[in-house]
């Protein structure tokens, strides 16, 4: 663990930006470059930066949810998004969309978004699991 004040201060600022970028990439993904995979990678690198600056235990605390649980949650939400179609009589993993008008704006909510969220969570979980395990080794 590097105990660098410069890095720690910079991380605080960068973290917010990176996380915002990650979420933005995730949300715009369906229409413009981005998506769960890329968003997840950016999110994971944000957490990796935090881990380098503050150490694993601090990063785990800030993360609140453990990488293992994140992977499980991600896989479950991907499966769940597929199951939803079954309930409306379509084949597994058919995209089901809900079109809402909120303040006159057309908002489309669909099961592929839930699926993409699953991808996002799995990617972040997997990268962090490896990085945490490696970093813990070095302590």
């Amino acid at each position: 663990m590097l105990q660098s004040v410069i890095l720690q201060t910079a991380t605080r600022l960068l973290m917010a930006l990176l996380l915002l970028l990650s979420i933005w990439l995730f949300i715009r993904g369906h229409n413009q470059p981005g998506g769960g995979f890329i968003g997840g990678l950016v999110g994971a690198s944000a957490s990796a930066l935090y881990t380098i600056a503050y150490g694993v235990s601090e990063a785990k605390r800030a993360l609140r949810i453990q990488p293992k649980a994140m992977i499980g949650l991600g896989l479950s939400s991907a499966v769940l998004s597929g199951l939803i179609a079954l309930f409306s009589g379509h084949p597994f993993l058919t995209g089901e969309w809900l079109k809402l008008h909120i303040f006159g704006e057309l908002v489309k909510l669909g099961t592929p978004m839930l699926f993409d969220l699953g991808v996002y969570l799995v990617v972040v979980g997997v990268v962090l699991m490896v990085i945490f395990a490696l970093e813990e080794e070095n302590v």
Partner: protein
């Protein structure tokens, strides 16, 4: 989603939350969980009238956008009998388990497995699509594996679980092959359509299909030579033995045979194979039952005998045998379920299952005594129990066998005589006789455990006295097996003295005789057991299994040592050498024309290529690890830039992110590696070998790309995706729509692989740490 589908799938949903529910509710969770099977049972009972009137209830659900694979269900007489047994037994077993396993740490998990099994078993007997049937079939094997291995801290339980899974699982795979062939030959994967096509038998594949389906059915129903896994499966907690390994799962094979018999019973192999294997199994089971001193193993062997009888009856075929199989099935489930539960109660209260040690339990466990006696009457085939009617019917069917009739009858009389003797010994030895003075007082089991055997055993007698309740359902079941079956009324006693009754009398006489010589015979078998096991039993099927497993382990160890030595450089050498050679050989054989065309290249393409080459060169000549990695990073980033210049932003962002994370991860790994000096470089011959492999790699990629470029670009697929992206996928980013929608199932596979890889890395790192700590401790 239709109701039949819910009947099957609701069990899985409840299984998901069962551990959580149990953790919240503790003692009362069983009552709540048992409500689902009860509701399913009652709901299915509601179809009784419809089924008897000849209606068939069906539901169809597409779950893959493929023509062959539907989640379709179908309820007829045969599946109604099975599904009622499955659902009502589940109620008893869950409540019984709440007493038997009271206070177990993982009881919630146990309930979850049990519910998962119930749902899968219902799926097997209700599925109309044979591929869906296969999936449920394998899920029953899987849940049986989890249940046998429930006490996973015991090696014997783990080994028995593995054995059951390997035997029934490989049978299941053979069955899958048979089913795919059957589906292709019949032109349909729906049982309801396949069974209307007797012309399947004329196909040249008919023999292979039948043999493969037999492999599935006979492993599952533990027929010789696959019988050895069932007695070992008695490692499972007793409720599991009562449910899976006597009343339901082992009958899945019988179900499959019954299901396909409208078409395949006419096949020339059908009768000889099933009759022969049934007879061999019956005899083997009878002798082994005599040898056992463990109450549960004894019951397991008697289950084998019953399964053998069922196989035999289905092998005989025809109206009589079909009805007889149905009645035998019901009778056996009732008495065997009761007997297993009683055995569990005895084990629970007296802490022993050894029939040498147990005796005189009647006074201390009166309810269990009554239940065991009534059930044993049915198992022995004595009037007025349902077992008697079942045995009479089976003798009637045996008489219709065209050849080998005398041998078959002789074997079955012997086997049934042994069953009689075993039933008698069970009651007399365990419950009657003297109470040993030195034994601690034994009490009756709690009501959750003693009520159900009493109920099931009582039902065996009740249905024996009033068999007319089974007339119609038995007929409907028989009709599913043999469509031309005729309705016949069941009677406890025939109107006049006939041959089956005579055979029954002989059986009972022989049974009494065998019961008298049980002690010396049993002792002799036990004494000889060692020499027998060293002698002729040494070549038995259980040994074949053991050898097969050992050889498989040896083989995989050998290939692991040769191909994946654990030295990462050697491993990479194997993988790269092999795949590049394959690529080059196939390129050479395809002999494509290559086209080199430098027109249309822009100035920055050359710059990027120059950057990549420079990076690669630097990496090669690097004298420190950090330089090498940074240089490789430059190559990766240049590739990402190339993606941008060719308008593939998604790929470019991904590539950049991967490069970044790779540097972080490698940096973390580098800290752990010993320091590197130029002295560590490989000697020249090795470097030449590595250079050759690397050169082959570059060459094969380059040549493949050039070869691909020479073919006209087929844009059919990409045009389709581009057109359908917005209307179907509701998104403008085609890449992402393909990832999460069009090819969602691929992505799901990929993230699963990713998760498994992460678990593997985690385990490797953590295990290494654990090992180091242990070594340090030992050094101290």
């Amino acid at each position: 989603m239709s109701s039949l589908a819910w009947t099957v799938l609701s069990g899985y949903l409840l299984a998901l939350v069962a551990p959580w529910l149990h953790a919240r509710l503790k003692g009362v969770s069983a009552y709540l969980l048992a409500l689902l099977p009860l509701a399913i049972g009652l709901y299915l009972t509601g179809f009784y009238q419809a089924v008897i009137e000849g209606e068939s209830v069906r539901s169809k659900l597409s779950w893959f956008s493929d023509k062959a694979i539907y989640l379709s269900f179908h309820l007829d007489g045969l599946s109604l009998i099975f599904s009622l047994l499955i659902s009502f037994f589940a109620v008893f077993i869950i409540l019984y388990a709440s007493g038997y396993l009271k206070g177990e740490a993982h009881l919630g998990r146990f309930y979850a497995y049990l519910l998962m099994f119930m749902a899968s078993m219902l799926g097997v007997v209700l599925a109309d699509n044979i591929l869906a049937l296969f999936i449920f079939w394998e899920l029953t094997s899987l849940s049986s594996y989890l249940l046998i291995g429930y006490k996973h801290k015991y090696e014997s339980a783990r080994r028995a679980a593995q054995q059951a899974l390997l035997v029934t699982g490989s049978g299941g795979l053979a069955m899958l092959l048979g089913m795919v062939m059957l589906g292709q030959v019949a032109g349909s994967y729906e049982l309801s359509e396949i069974l209307l096509k007797p012309e399947i038998l004329a196909s040249p594949y008919a023999d292979a299909i039948l043999i493969l389906l037999f492999l599935g059915a006979l492993t599952k129903s533990a027929q010789w030579p696959f019988h050895f896994w069932l007695p070992n499966a008695m490692e499972a907690p007793t409720p599991v033995s009562a449910y899976l390994h006597s009343a339901t799962m082992v009958k899945a094979g019988i179900y499959l045979l019954a299901r396909i018999s409208p078409v395949f019973a006419e096949h020339p192999y059908w009768q000889p194979v099933l009759v022969t294997l049934g007879l061999i199994t019956a005899l083997t089971a009878g002798i082994l039952a005599f040898k056992s001193r463990d109450l549960k193993r004894l019951l397991a062997y008697s289950t084998l005998l019953a399964l053998a009888t069922l196989t035999l009856l289905l092998g005989i075929g025809g109206s009589k045998a079909a009805l007889s199989a149905m009645i035998y099935l019901i009778a056996h489930s009732l008495y065997k379920g009761a007997l297993f539960m009683v055995a569990g109660s005895i084990d629970h209260e007296a802490k022993s299952r050894d029939i040498h040690w147990l005796s005189g339990l009647a006074r201390q466990m009166p309810l269990s005594f009554v239940a065991a006696t009534l059930a044993a009457i049915s198992m022995a085939g004595l009037p007025p129990a349902l077992g008697f009617i079942a045995k009479e019917l089976s003798y009637t069917s045996l008489l219709t066998l065209p050849s080998l009739t005398l041998i078959a009858i002789a074997v079955m009389i012997l086997a049934n005589g042994m069953l009689f003797a075993v039933s008698a010994i069970l009651v007399i030895k365990v419950f009657l006789g003297k109470t040993p003075a030195d034994r601690d007082p034994v009490h009756e089991a709690p009501w959750q455990m003693s009520l159900w055997p009493l109920l099931l055993a009582g039902l065996s007698i009740f249905l024996g006295l009033l068999p007319k309740f089974l007339d119609e359902i038995g007929y409907e079941g028989a009709k599913s097996i043999y469509p031309a079956a005729k309705l016949s009324h069941l009677h406890l006693f025939p109107e006049s003295f006939n041959t089956p009754l005579l055979l029954s009398l002989i059986t009972i006489g022989l049974g009494i005789l065998l019961a008298f010589i049980w002690r010396p015979f049993h002792r002799w078998l036990e004494r000889e057991a060692d020499s027998i096991e060293r002698g002729w039993l040494n070549c038995g099927p259980a040994k074949w299994y053991q050898w097969g497993l050992q050889d498989l382990e040896r083989l995989s160890l050998w290939q692991l040592k040769t191909l994946q030595s654990g030295n990462i450089r050697r491993d990479l050498l194997t993988i790269f050498g092999f795949s590049f050679t394959l690529t080059l050989v196939s390129l050479w054989r395809a002999n494509p024309s290559f086209r080199l065309d430098f027109s249309g290249l822009r100035i920055y393409d050359f710059i990027l290529v120059f950057l990549m080459l420079a990076g690669a060169f630097t990496a090669m000549r690097a004298r420190t690890r950090l330089t090498a990695i940074t240089a490789l990073g430059a190559v990766g980033s240049s590739v990402a830039l190339t993606f941008i210049t060719y308008a593939a932003p998604d790929l470019a962002i991904t590539q950049f992110m991967i490069e970044t994370l790779l540097v972080i991860i490698i940096a973390l790994v580098l800290i752990r590696l010993p320091s590197f000096s130029t002295d560590d470089l490989s000697p020249t011959p090795k470097r030449i070998r590595d250079a050759i492999i690397a050169g082959m790699g570059g060459l094969s990629i380059c040549l493949s790309m050039l070869a691909i470029l020479n073919y006209p670009l087929n844009t059919k697929l990409s045009d389709y995706f581009a057109e359908q992206s917005v209307p179907f996928g509701q998104g403008h980013n085609i890449v992402n729509v393909i990832l999460v929608d069009f090819r969602g199932i691929d992505t799901m596979g990929e993230i699963t692989v990713l998760a498994i890889a992460a678990l593997g890395i985690y385990a490797l790192l953590k295990f290494g740490k654990f090992r180091n700590e242990k070594n340090e401790k030992e050094d101290d």
